[in-house]
Symmetry: C2
């Protein structure tokens, strides 16, 4: 019988009381004779506490040992949740990544899941185990070291288990009610979406909507795993993330995403010849700068401007990375403009593919409110703009209304 995967994040297992609530959701599935694979994060705050311990040793450290320390957080939660289920009369046991095993690459701190062996779990389910409580966020490398998958990695664990177990239903319990047309804290009339496509969810996840980790959405899309986001407080039906074909709702725009703390860097009058862009963005990548949008317009007189955006916290690193290039004489930039007071606002919707005029409508609405657009970047199903941070809420609300998202 195909199990169901239920994932509980850090806030959903923050206390024994909250774990008991999670256990009741699990028992409902068990009572319906469905085997459950429960995936858990560390108790809220625990991962930060452990990371702080490592950082108090040294700012530069062996990522393998860091992973060893961090993985203990999920070990504790998985065992505690198994114990709670047992007190409810449910046959449950905990599984650490290496016990399953969840095989990953050796890139510690950001490992990729290569394979989940299902034999041991299958055997135990056949023996009467009702719930396998999996320590999320972790795996084991080919040389037997413990790895972690990076922040939000428990979502990835959950989707990977669902993919490995016959595309099982993957229920992500979180501290929000589902996916909304915009952040309800910004837009009072934001509506919960009943369905959203993988593609749209992917754009929303990478655009700063923190409901699901980006890589987990990619994985779900690749394996066509049906994901269901729901509230760990109310257990209310949340949002289904599925193939666009599986839902009939027709709409052009699904939601308005935003990301507050962005910075914009412009390299003025860069030589317009092959290899220059590669030079710049290789240097930025080597300094671990999380570059998001990249915009380059047509050249004039063999010179061009290149603009990119990144999180505000990366701006000092970005500046020094570029100044280092300047110093080496490889790059001859006339000026370096940094703007640390921008935000990103995006319109996302699968219907954009077939409807024209969305961009025009978006820009006109912003213009009417006097919001100046600094940078524009588009993909097949989204349009993003950078605007002054002070206009963020106004921009999101204006676009939410403009595209009629408050209406059913």
């Amino acid at each position: 019988m195909t199990p169901v995967v239920m994932k509980f994040g850090g806030t959903s297992v923050a206390t024994i009381g909250k774990m008991q609530k999670a256990a009741r959701f699990i028992r409902q599935a068990v009572d319906d004779n469905t085997p459950v694979i429960a995936v858990v994060s560390a108790m809220a705050g625990e991962t930060n506490r452990l990371a702080e311990l490592v950082r108090s040793v040294s700012s530069v450290f062996d990522a393998r040992e860091y992973d060893n320390v961090l993985a203990t957080g999920e070990n504790v939660t998985s065992a505690l949740l198994a114990l709670i289920l047992q007190t409810m009369g449910v046959s449950a046991r905990s599984w650490q990544g290496w016990q399953v095993p969840v095989r990953t690459s050796s890139v510690h701190g950001a490992a990729r899941i290569l394979d989940i062996e299902r034999d041991r779990l299958d055997a135990r389910f056949a023996d009467g185990m009702e719930v396998a409580v999996i320590a999320g966020f972790q795996g084991v490398s080919s040389d037997g070291r413990i790895t972690t998958l990076g922040r939000g990695g428990s979502d990835l664990t959950a989707v990977a288990f669902a993919a490995a177990f016959d595309r099982a239903r993957c229920m992500i319990y979180t501290d929000v009610d589902g996916v909304f047309t915009a952040d309800p804290r910004v837009v009072k009339t934001a509506r919960k979406l009943e369905h959203i496509s993988y593609e749209e969810m992917l754009e929303l996840a990478s655009l700063g909507s923190k409901v699901l980790q980006t890589r987990s959405v990619e994985l779900a899309m690749r394996h066509r795993v049906p994901v269901h986001v729901l509230s760990s407080y109310t257990g209310q039906p949340g949002t289904y993330v599925t193939d666009e074909e599986t839902h009939m709702e027709t709409r052009t725009i699904s939601g308005i995403a935003h990301s507050r703390d962005e910075a914009k860097v412009t390299l003025q009058s860069v030589a317009d010849r092959p290899g220059i862009a590669a030079l710049i963005f290789t240097a930025l990548a080597n300094h671990d700068i999380n570059v998001d949008m990249i915009v380059q317009n047509i050249a004039e007189d063999k010179r061009t401007d290149i603009t990119f955006s990144c999180p505000v916290e990366d701006i000092a690193k970005a500046r020094s990375a570029i100044e280092l290039l300047q110093g080496r004489g490889d790059l001859n930039v006339a000026g370096l403009l940094c703007d640390e007071s921008v935000c990103k606002v995006s319109v996302v919707g699968i219907g954009m593919r077939t409807q024209s005029g969305i961009a025009a409508k978006m820009f006109a609405a912003l213009g009417r409110e006097g919001i100046n657009i600094k940078v524009i970047s588009t993909s097949e199903i989204k349009i993003s703009v950078l605007v002054d941070r002070k206009y963020m809420e106004l921009a999101v609300r204006t676009l939410h209304e403009e595209f009629g998202l408050h209406q059913k």
Copy 2:
């Protein structure tokens, strides 16, 4: 090359600062070109915190999950110590029990070490690893579950590694300077012993001297592992625990041990026939009562008195275990006397085997101070008495002086 085993207990790794101190002791050995197997406990207080988390779920719990939670404490310390060593330029990595592997029985919470495979460690030492930092107190069962060895289990881990690695020297860093002729808090003139035999250490360990865990001394004795107890504060030479043949010091008595919170239970006028004692002590064992001394004197009129001692905290369980037997009519006890205000004082020394008169000397000294002896029990190398708890310090000091232990 034979490595050295260095074990650091919870107080010796309680903070990053203390771990750095431990790391400096390790580096000294590395600088002498000796490979090091460092065994660590959880940071002081951490095991209790984790156990409390489990108990907050339920007072009755699956010991496998309990072990899973508890073992995380040592995982964290082993990784942090490895990181600290790396910052000092030492090539170190952490090893969890299952990674070595340390194979144990499946008795969770009190597992026995069955085997330590040394191939992986050997290979890494050959590759240039200078220090293997082992998470103590844990292992892995034949079905791949994490086990723990019970309180003080890191001592056992250390001795077991020393045994597996060619009887390596086993250095136990602790918060005392070594083994003393008596508890220095009770007897100001107590002296540190330079040497002590396994047999004596075993009696001292089981008699309440908390320097080394009892099972670890047994294991060291069985495998003839040279154990060296020393201070993690000063690094000063402490006490060597070795074969009696390997040290030349001749003395009759090595030390005076005591155990404060004992209780004495007397079953009056029990039928003196075969099987009665077995009936009583099987019942006590089934109730997990930690019976220590057992005394039975000759019978009169086919009736006899049986006295045993146990920790004060077990007295209520002991009483109800015996009353249950009474109720079933198997036992016909005239009276049940419980005395919860006794303590145990013991004289320990390997020289006792060949010298007579030790007991007489002991009893006379106590008598001179007006200390009434309630129960006597002897083994080949120790004599223990129960006396009123209020006399404990006086009894220990009197005997320490009587046997000349304050003198070199």
